[in-house]
Each structure stands twice: as C-alpha cells, then as structure tokens.
Symmetry: none
C-alpha cells in the first residue's frame, strides 16, 4: 500500500473541505447566491479554484446542500428545545432561547437562511420548505395547547407564521447590533413576552 489515505491525508482533506464550506457559508451569507463567486470562496479558504470542483460538483449544488444542511440543523436544534418542555410558556421560552443562542454563536447560519429573494429556482422551493418547517415547529405545541384549551381560540397556522416572522425580524435586528451578546438576554425575555401575549392568556389545566 504505497498510499495511506486514512492518516493525516484524511484529516487534511476533511479540513480543506470544511474550510471551503465555512468560507462558502460566510460568502453566501454576506453577498447572496449570485454575488458570491467561487473565487471569493476559494480565496478565503486559501485553495485553488480546481480544488473547489474536486470537492463539490458546482456552485449551486454546494449552495443548496449548505442551505438544506443548515436549515435542518436549525430546525432540529429548535425542535429539541421545544420538546424538552411540556408547557406552552416554557416551550416558547426554550425555542427563543435556543434560536438566540444559535444566532449569537453562529450568525452566518442565520444570515444564510434568510438570504431569500431568489438565488435560483431550486432555492425558492428550499426556502419555502424551510419556512414551512419553522411554522410547524411553532404550530405543533400551539395546537396542543389549544386542544387542551389552555389558550384562547385562534387560527393556529396564522399565529405560527406570524411568530416565525416576528422572531426572525427581531433576531436579525439583534445581529445588526455592534455587540449582540449584550442585548441577547433582554431580547429573549421580551420576545418571549411578546409571543406569550400574542397567543393569549395561558391557563394551566390539571
């Protein structure tokens, strides 16, 4: 075996792949799909153009892959925060807390997901799916609370959509601050209050 691939090589390979993906997230988040060039990405990752195409089939595939992966990760993370609580107020607080944490910790992720507009037809579908998942993330516990008559009657889908929009907007504004960490706790608190008001008074059942 004149060429061992499971040693350092493997690590370097993965590191290169990873650094390109990170660079890609950064550039895509910053400039959007069209304005981001492959050259931008490889320059940041400090590799040659050809290397990009050694690891990824093309720009669009990488982008959609990145989008999907990131979206799934975000949804999973929030989902876990949600199911770890049983009462609506605690669920709201947990989801928002998780979301804000993520935004502070990995702002590029959030920016990537909110690029919107229209990079490519393929993205439009992806984006819709993502928004839908986010909506369902809120709608599920909301519907349960409604079923238990713990919340006043309302259109759960519209409420969920509105919450998704509200949370995104507030978090984006938060990220635009010079030092988002400082305002994070306050934002979580007030945003939670907003959502709880918006879904009406919660009455605990026995």
């Amino acid at each position: 075996m004149p060429y061992r691939s499971s040693d350092k090589t493997r690590q370097k390979k993965d590191s290169k792949r990873t650094s390109m993906m990170q660079a890609a997230v950064q550039v895509f988040a910053e400039k959007g799909y069209h304005a981001a060039t492959v050259r931008d990405i490889v320059e940041i990752a400090d590799v040659a153009v050809g290397t990009f195409y050694f690891y990824f089939p093309d720009k669009e595939t990488l982008f959609t892959h990145l989008y999907d992966e990131t979206a799934d990760f975000l949804v999973q993370t929030l989902q876990q925060a949600s199911v770890s609580r049983s009462l609506w107020p605690q669920q709201v607080q947990a989801i928002i807390q998780a979301y804000v944490n993520l935004a502070i910790f990995e702002p590029a992720i959030i920016q990537l997901l909110l690029i919107g507009g229209s990079g490519t037809p393929a993205l439009a579908t992806r984006r819709q799916r993502f928004r839908h998942q986010l909506t369902q993330l809120w709608q599920r516990p909301l519907t349960e609370a409604l079923t238990n008559e713990q919340l006043p009657d309302q259109d759960s889908r519209l409420t969920a959509e509105a919450i998704v929009g509200a949370v995104d907007e507030v978090i984006l504004k938060l990220l635009n601050l010079p030092e988002p960490e400082l305002a994070a706790d306050g934002t979580v608190l007030n945003l939670t209050r907003f959502v709880l008001r918006a879904t009406g008074p919660f009455r605990e059942k026995t």
Copy 2:
C-alpha cells in the same frame, strides 16, 4: 404607484422612462437584483438598451432609486392609514388592511422590498432604513397608547419590530397562495387579532 410620473403634461415624454421603471420593478421582484438583467428590463419595456442608459446612470442606481421610492410610497400609504384613526385597535386594523390591499393590488412592490440583504452593499443600508421606518410606523401609535396607559407596559421597539416581521411573513405567505384575494379578508381579521393580542389588552381612557 410611486414610479409613475404624476405629472400628466409630460406623460408622453416620460412614457419610456415610466415603462422601464415598471418593467424594472417587475423583473427585480421576480428574479432579484443580480439575476435581473438590463436586457430583461428593456425587452419588457420594449425599448433599446441604449435608452436605458439615457434615463438611468446604471443598473444599481435604478435599483436603489426604485427601492427607495417604493419603500417611501409604502410607508406613506401605511402612515396615512394609521393617522386617520385615533384608537390603537382601529389603527392596527387600518394599517394591516392597507398593507394587504397593497399586496394584493401590487404584489411586485412587496416582493421588491423583501428581496433581502443580498444584492449590493448599498442596498443593505437602504433595507435597514426601510425596516426602521416600518418599525417606527408601528412604534409611534404604540408609544402613544402606552403613554396613555391604554396598553400594558412593554418594550415598544421590540414589539414594533416583531409586528413588522409578523406582518411581512404572513403577507408573503398570502401572496404565495394561488388566489390571494380570496384569503385577504380573513388574513386581515386574524392578523389584526394577532397584533392586538400581542400588544396586550386595550383599555380605552376618557
């Protein structure tokens, strides 16, 4: 429509300019800033490429100009709806009603404004300014109601931001429906309820 020359006397003179702007709104809204080409625009407007550069210095300037104009128009329209009422609940309902009307009547306007943070650096600033204006649109009457102690104490800025996000998200979803008009009234009603719940019980003062 903000991009229509309001001076009837030069209607003929500016007809090309106008048709190009209308075409531009349409194309930008549909494909985003980068994917939209000058050729797309002039083809729809049925003029030559050179004509574009007679009326506008370049693509980006037109875009930012269009964005500003459209944003101002939207804000003005909602502003008027807002000031025509004196009580918070009526104001909420009026703004949302006006917003939905506009979205149904001229969806391209809304889509143009929500294209997102990509595009160009110049747009980022513009977008922030627009979001800020929208926020203030809500924050002003909200603050007044708070001052009059008609609403429970809350962070008026965060509430306003959240409302902006909520309304946008719901209206975008509405526009994605095959026949938005049919759902318009219901959306106005439920969205208004959402916002009113989110700002807490309103107590009318004498």
Copy 3:
C-alpha cells in the same frame, strides 16, 4: 427615425458577421472543432469576444451551421456540374473538375468538411449525411449508366463510396502541395481516368 439600419450600418454589420465566419472556417479547418477557440476566431476577425455571441448563439451552433452550409454548397456545386452533362465520362470529368476548382479556390472549405474525427455528437450525424450526399452524387449518374447498360455490372453503391474516398484523398494530397494550382490540371486528368477505369469500359448507346 433616429437610427437608420439599412445604410452603412447594415453593411458593416454584415461585414463583421462575414469576417467572423471566414475566420471561423479558417480556424476550424486548421485546428479542428475542439482545438479551435472562440478567442482564436475573434482575434483573426479582429473583434471582441462579446461580438461573437452577438452574432452567433454559441461555438457549436456556428460550427454545425458552417458545416451544413459548406457541405450544401459543395454538393450543390458538384451537382450542377454533374447534371450539365449527359454522358458518364463527361459527368465524371465535370464533377472532378468542379471539385478541384473549388479546392484550389477555397481550400479551407474542403479542409473544414474533412475534419472528421469527432468534434461533437452533432457533427457525427452531419458528417455522415454529407458523405451520403456525396455518395449519391456519384451513384445517381452511375446507376443511370448502368441501367442503360453503358457500364459493366457492379455494386453501384460501393463504387460510388470508393470514388468519393478516392477523390477526397487525391484532392487532399493536392492541397498539401506547395503550389497546388500547377498540378491541378494533371490531377483532374488522371483522376478522371482513374474513375473511368474504375467503373469499367463505357459503351455509348444510340
């Protein structure tokens, strides 16, 4: 009408188009489809890259178009030479004469058609069609002579194919000479003799 397009403009436009096509024939003939670059072509034609794409949709389309056009032209020319005579020996002589004339006058045309190999799947089909047309060009008068029993019995298709190959080979060799014109007449004479021998003794009928 501020822009008249049927005047000098038209001429210049056509001249540019023409010069690019000539350059393309030259480059394609010289290097073959793949080795020929769009940049090669525009440099010879002394225009910018963009100009190429203003006149032609893409490299492949231009190539196939050029090939078709050239092939048709060649076949037409030879066809006319053929039908202008009624007797087989005169037909043979006329076709060969016309072919050699063309080769001397416009050598790039012949080279373009014989590029062969495989530029692109699309070309393979084209090339076959062209060879088929050439074959039929010979087979038609040959069959007629056979029907009139002016030539000895033979497989007219194979004979025609063989003649096509023979003529091409000899003419290509001729073109490789430093001064093809000098050898042209002799080649026509001897090639005609070859073909006449190859189809057997001709017996004129009354």
Copy 4:
C-alpha cells in the same frame, strides 16, 4: 496488436502500462484527441491519474506514440499480405482482405488512424507519413506490374493514392454498419473488383 507488450516475462510489470494503452486507443478512437481526457483513460484502465504520468510523459506523447505504433502495425500487416503474393490481382485481394479483417477484428485501430487532421500539429506530420506509407504499400506492387507491362500505363502515385482513399472510405462505411462481419466478405469481393478495374486490365506475362 501493436500496443501489447510482446515480452511475457514482464507481463505483470507492464500490465498497467498495457491496460492504459489499450484504454487510450479506445478513448482516442471514440472521442478524438481533444475530447479524450486523461481521466477517461485511467478510469477505464482502473489506475490513478498519477500512474499515467509515471508511464507516459504526457497526453500528447502517448497519443503520437500510439498513432505511430498502430500505423506501423497496420502497414506491416498489409505489407506482409502484399508480399506473400506475386501477381497483382492476388496482391490486391490479399491487402484488402487483410485490411478488412483488421477492421472487423480491431475497429478501434482503424478509427484511431482516421481521426483526422485536427488534434495537434505533431499529428499532422504523423498522419501524412502514414498516408504516404499506405500509398507506397500500393504503389510498389503497382509499379512492378507496370514495369512488367501487365497493366496499362498510368500515374502510379495518383492511382495508389486514390486506392488508399477508396479503401478507407469503404471500410469506414462498413464499420458503421450494425453488424460489419456479415458484409465483410461481400465488401472484400466488390472492393477488390473495384481496384482491379481501376488499375486496368491485367495481362499475365510469362
């Protein structure tokens, strides 16, 4: 097959080299010089890219080497068929028979040699040399027969060239058939007749 190492002792050692050469012939014949990629070759040969450059200096060298080797092999084979007979008609039949056999048995060889004048400057020379050898292959016995006055007076070089072209064309057509073997015998027969007619009536001398 010319590209097969004839030394059994180093069969193992050169197995990669051999399989790459076989793969190369196949790929070059199929796609032509430029469209064939080194990757295509090594994938078929099931070795790594680097291995290619251990055995061959570069793509072009391999190609020209392959071309030369193949051309020599073909010429040798036909030569042997030619010298094994003493009379012109038998020589013609033997050469054509050998050519057709080879074409049926190893079509890639023939296709490789007929790829054409594109490729690379270096190939042009090679190709000319090969055509020249083929021409001489026919011209030698032809001249001899002429010297013996067994054939009518003619330009032996032109006749030889024409025969070369004729034979190639017919054999290429044969290879394009779905099942070339079925038509092989008939083609040999008729092609032989064609050539014999084309060189004029053969008179056996004592």
